[in-house]
């Protein structure tokens, strides 16, 4: 069988920047590092443009950084077997257009068809990773592919030069100040404890800002435009547009422009604590090797709490402050001794564990590196099926 050289990713944007964020990173990495010709089908070009300004929201077909981007306008459309890529990825179990699937069944050799699932630390994933899923009516088999935190999963997305670039950035005393100055962050704000804040609407941001206002040490909270807008507007006393800033007590809140992916990485590298959300920024925070708090995508029946606990059990079973803070941030019941603490006390406890969290970040990175990166693992799996 020939080595797969073409690949199609079907991405439907549900979580504004997470879905396309992950698909775009994967597409770019497969193209750049593995020489695969990638077609990225995406239904929402506006969200895509916010993390990748080179995207033309009006174009049905365009090349962006070497990747063929096609606007996925709906489920209609005719496809021939020759239109089908060697590897077809449905991201988060999206429904691929039915006639594309029919064309897949007619193609010889059959494409490798993968359902790339969401990241979770739950144990069951190991039992389902890489298992087949026969099509009920067509002679086609899909395989489920799970990213994850153990060698029995697909690992995490990580570009080849990412960690070296991060190390250079963090080792250069001029790099972070220059980067933050470019975003409008003043030297005085940079001298404070810097926290990046990215979360969903329901996060208890107001309570956290209150505790930072009364904190013994100055805190600079850097929040992208469009995130926690009501609370940020109340704090600022005005529109939360990029560049808006206000200081109350020990806290300065500054609204940043929504930055492209590479700059978001630098922001995470430059901050002392990162509050991240969803899947894409969650993984990037792990590679930043700075203490982070995860705001998880909400699910019915609080299933996301189970997912959060599974991660905390793997990541910090012995660092109660991070577990306690994370559970409270996500509205999940915590241990009794943590439940009684105020936001200020939770934050103080988290800061007291800073060295332990930095060490954990380094250990965790070593463990994740041993698994290999998601794009390389996925491509290796696809080759094994051909």
């Amino acid at each position: 069988m020939p080595t797969p050289t073409t690949l199609a990713i079907f991405c439907k944007v549900v979580d504004n920047y997470g879905d396309i964020g992950i698909c775009w990173r994967l597409a770019r990495q497969l193209e750049r590092e593995h020489g695969v010709q990638v077609t990225l089908w995406v239904d929402d070009l506006s969200s895509f443009r916010r993390i990748c300004p080179g995207v033309d929201v009006a174009a049905a077909v365009q090349h962006v950084e070497g990747v063929l981007v096609r606007h996925w306008g709906g489920q209609d459309g005719a496809f021939a077997p020759a239109d089908v890529a060697d590897i077809v990825i449905e991201f988060f179990a999206v429904d691929i257009p039915p006639r594309y699937v029919e064309a897949m069944a007619q193609r010889e050799p059959k494409p490798v068809w993968l359902n790339l699932e969401g990241l979770t630390a739950e144990e069951w994933v190991e039992g389902c990773h890489a298992l087949p899923s026969m099509h009920p009516r067509l002679p086609l088999t899909k395989h489920f592919y799970f990213p994850g935190f153990t060698p029995r999963t697909g690992g995490l997305l990580r570009e080849r030069g990412l960690l070296a670039e991060r190390d250079r950035f963090q080792a250069d005393p001029a790099a972070a100040p220059a980067f933050l100055t470019g975003l409008g962050v003043t030297p005085a704000e940079q001298a404070a404890l810097k926290v990046s804040l990215f979360c969903y609407r329901h996060a208890p941001v107001a309570a956290l800002l209150d505790s930072w206002q009364a904190a013994p040490m100055p805190v600079t909270c850097l929040v992208p435009e469009g995130v926690a807008t009501d609370t940020v507007e109340a704090f600022l006393g005005g529109p939360p547009n990029a560049g808006a800033v206000a200081t109350r007590g020990a806290l300065t809140v500054r609204v940043l422009p929504f930055v492209p992916q590479p700059d978001y990485d630098r922001l995470l590298w430059a901050c002392d604590v990162n509050i991240v959300r969803g899947e894409d920024s969650f993984v990037r925070a792990q590679w930043a090797r700075r203490p982070f708090v995860w705001h998880i995508y909400p699910q019915d029946e609080n299933l996301h709490h189970k997912k959060l606990r599974a991660f905390l059990d793997r990541y910090c079973p012995d660092i109660a402050s991070l577990a306690g803070f994370s559970l409270r941030w996500n509205g999940a019941p915590g241990e009794d001794n943590m439940e009684r603490l105020s936001w200020a006390e939770l934050w103080t406890a988290l800061q007291a564990d800073r060295n332990a969290l930095l060490a954990r970040g380094a250990d965790w990175e070593k463990r994740m590196l041993e698994i290999g990166d998601l794009a390389t693992n996925l491509l290796g799996f696809a080759r094994s099926l051909r």
């Binding site: 979580d15 999206v94 359902n115 979770t120 739950e122 039992g127 087949p132 699910q299």
Partner: protein, 191 residues
């Protein structure tokens, strides 16, 4: 057509025009797109077993097969023998019984499922009542059901005794109701 989330152990489904019996179904949660169903299946034409995973909304043709009320009669190693009201006996392989094996009991009433004239599996009622044959002592006052412990339930074949998670207040010899679709404890039955 039925979505995967409505298909039960013992159902026969058509996959790529071949009949498969679902022998075991593990439901795994927390995917953003819903639950993931991991099935142990067997091809009824070749007897080849396989494991597959499906999304909850993947749709299948379910084959409606002949069914007949039977009672479990005895174990004729390696086959399990069921009998209908006319005293006809039907032998079913252990692996085809799937989770039903967990609840097998002498005289148990269920429905035998036939494919091509041959009994291939049994379907259980949605709920059944079984006695606990072993469990740690009950904890008085705990009625919340949040904390669970293991309990072994009665079974025709002692070596196959099944364990169910029950609340702490449930004790040995209690009769409990179990949901056979999820293999979960539902309630304790006391006079």
């Amino acid at each position: 057509m039925k979505p995967a989330k409505e298909i039960r152990v013992g159902n026969i489904i058509m996959v790529d025009a071949k009949p498969f019996i679902v022998l075991r179904s593990d439901v795994n949660g927390s995917s953003r797109t819903g639950f993931t169903y991991k099935w142990k299946m067997k091809n009824l034409l070749t007897n080849a077993p396989l494991e597959n995973v499906f999304r909850g909304d993947d749709k299948f043709d379910v084959v409606v097969l002949d069914k007949k009320p039977v009672t479990y009669s005895y174990f004729a190693d390696p086959l399990y023998v069921f009998m209908d009201q006319e005293y006809n006996q039907y032998e079913i392989e252990e692996e085809n019984l799937g989770d039903a094996l967990n609840y097998l009991k002498d005289g148990m009433e269920c429905e035998a499922v036939f494919y091509d004239g041959k009994a291939i599996s049994v379907e259980l009622p949605t709920t059944i009542v079984r006695q606990i044959v072993y469990s740690e002592p009950a904890v008085k006052g705990n009625t919340s059901g949040n904390v669970l412990k293991e309990a072994k339930i009665e079974n025709a074949i002692e070596s196959k005794r099944h364990t169910v998670q029950v609340p702490l207040f449930v004790s040995q010899d209690d009769m409990i109701e179990i949901d056979t679709r999820t293999n979960e404890y539902k309630r304790v039955i006391r006079n």
